[in-house]
Amino acid sequence: MNGARLTIGQGVAWSFLGIALFLGLWTSLSVSGLVPRQFLPTPMETAARFLSLFTSPFAGATLPVHLASSFRRYAYGVLLAAAIGVPLGLLMGWFRLLDDIVSPIFDGLRFIAPIAWVPFAALWFGTGIGGPVMIIFAGAFPPCLINAYRGARFVEPRFIEAARMLGTSDLRMIREILLPSAVPSIIAGLRVAAGLGWQSLVGAELIVAAAGVGFMMVQAQASVQTTTVMSGMIAIGLVGMLIDVLLRQGEAWLRRRRGLEA
């Protein structure tokens, strides 16, 4: 059977072959001149450019400075989305009336891609920090809201009934039943929100920004510096990966602490 497992050695060997083929194909395409060198630089040239961007500035700043300004916007947008989306979602899950009011609005807005908010974001908040933050917010808000809502909505009804019967106050009920049982769903939502927020950041910076990695890439594109564009992509990919890994670790840590074995 073809689906037979490989030994670790075989797996590593095939993986190396894969990378070698990928890099080999890329290099030969650009060295042979099949694709003009200007548009497809070799992997080595790209890596060299990536490293040089750490010291020599492009579009007004070095890569770490661009990254820092991107990250600041990103943090504001995602934190704002979590700070509004999670409480609103919990309340919607708890109070049926609020659910009936907000849900139709939310369902209507859901299909509008976050990026489509760009013109209004630029009009309302400008291209400094406000505009991009709003777009990141638009990307990160829905998962925060939906997951908090689900978490609150699907609390085991027996817990609520038991608490009611024992005469628990509303405040204690929210603190001791609603929140703890909604936490796993909220955390999962935050992780999705963090990923979508990062995507939206890239989009926002490509269109409305005066600094940041996305801005750097657009400037590089305008001056046909393919290596710089690719370096930007690598930086975005690496940071995105880092955010995901950190949040996964955080999620696992929370689960362990709460004694919920994943």
Partner: protein
């Protein structure tokens, strides 16, 4: 919904709490809608902008399915293929599809080819991953039974592997459809000559809130309509699968 429209009317037209330069009133929205539907705006009517964008999403999507699903099935089937391709995926996957836009413009210019390329990137990775997962979660006995009965390989793919992986593949497609629209709108905002994102771009430069809202509503309606169509296709394709059809 009616309450929402009433509130919108109240805030903009009646009380003027929200100034006309920031958000359009229902009347302005309607006027913009009439303008773009009749005379056209940004070089074409709404219908041809919308049609152009939808065609690009569908084409990019079909190319992504055509390349991603077979690759995913192959990686799911053969451990060698998985080991061969996986490192490259680990490398490419964290890069958001939107980040390909500048490179796509560098390579292919502002025309349709660059848009199809970025949509392809948005939909390709989920297609591969879900097709891969779909194959990996097939019950072993099913494959063994088919092998025991001496099923030829192409029939195995056609009658066992593909149908069994299909529910997962559709899950991936639903995820990537939204990503495809987001990417297209972003790409058209960055640079295009026609399309819904281009309408948004021109309206932004003209500071024309009514038209911005028309563009946004169009994006929402198109996203909703294509999602509905995909759901329809899924129900037809998975008619045999009671659990997925429900």
């Amino acid at each position: 919904m009616a309450v929402l429209v009433a509130l919108w009317f109240l805030l903009t037209t009646l009380t003027g709490t929200i100034g006309g330069g920031r958000f359009p009133s229902p009347g302005e929205f309607w006027a913009s809608l009439l303008q773009i539907s009749g005379k056209g705006y940004a070089g074409a009517t709404l219908l041809s902008h919308a049609w152009h964008s939808t065609t690009l999403v569908v084409m990019g999507f079909l190319v992504a399915i055509g390349t991603g699903v077979p690759l995913g099935l192959w990686m799911g089937w053969s451990r060698r293929a998985e080991a061969l391709m996986n490192p490259i995926f680990l490398f490419i996957r964290p890069i958001p599809p939107l980040a390909w836009i500048p490179l796509a413009i560098l390579w292919l210019g502002l025309g349709d080819a660059a848009k199809i390329m970025v949509i392809w990137f948005a939909a390709f990775v989920p297609s591969v991953i879900n097709a891969f997962t779909g194959v990996r979660t097939i019950d072993r006995p099913v494959l063994e039974a088919a092998a025991m009965l001496g099923t030829p390989r192409w029939r195995l793919v056609q009658e066992v592997i593909l149908p069994a992986a299909l529910p997962m593949i559709f899950t991936g497609l639903r995820l990537s459809l939204q990503a495809a629209w987001t990417t297209l709108v972003a790409a058209e905002l960055v640079g295009a000559l026609v399309g819904v994102g281009f309408v948004l771009n021109v309206a932004q430069q003209d500071i024309y809130p009514g038209m911005i809202l028309v563009g946004m509503v169009t994006v929402g309606v198109l996203g909703w309509a294509t999602t509905w169509l995909l759901g329809h296709a899924e129900r037809r394709a998975l008619a045999w699968n009671v659990a997925a059809g429900a």
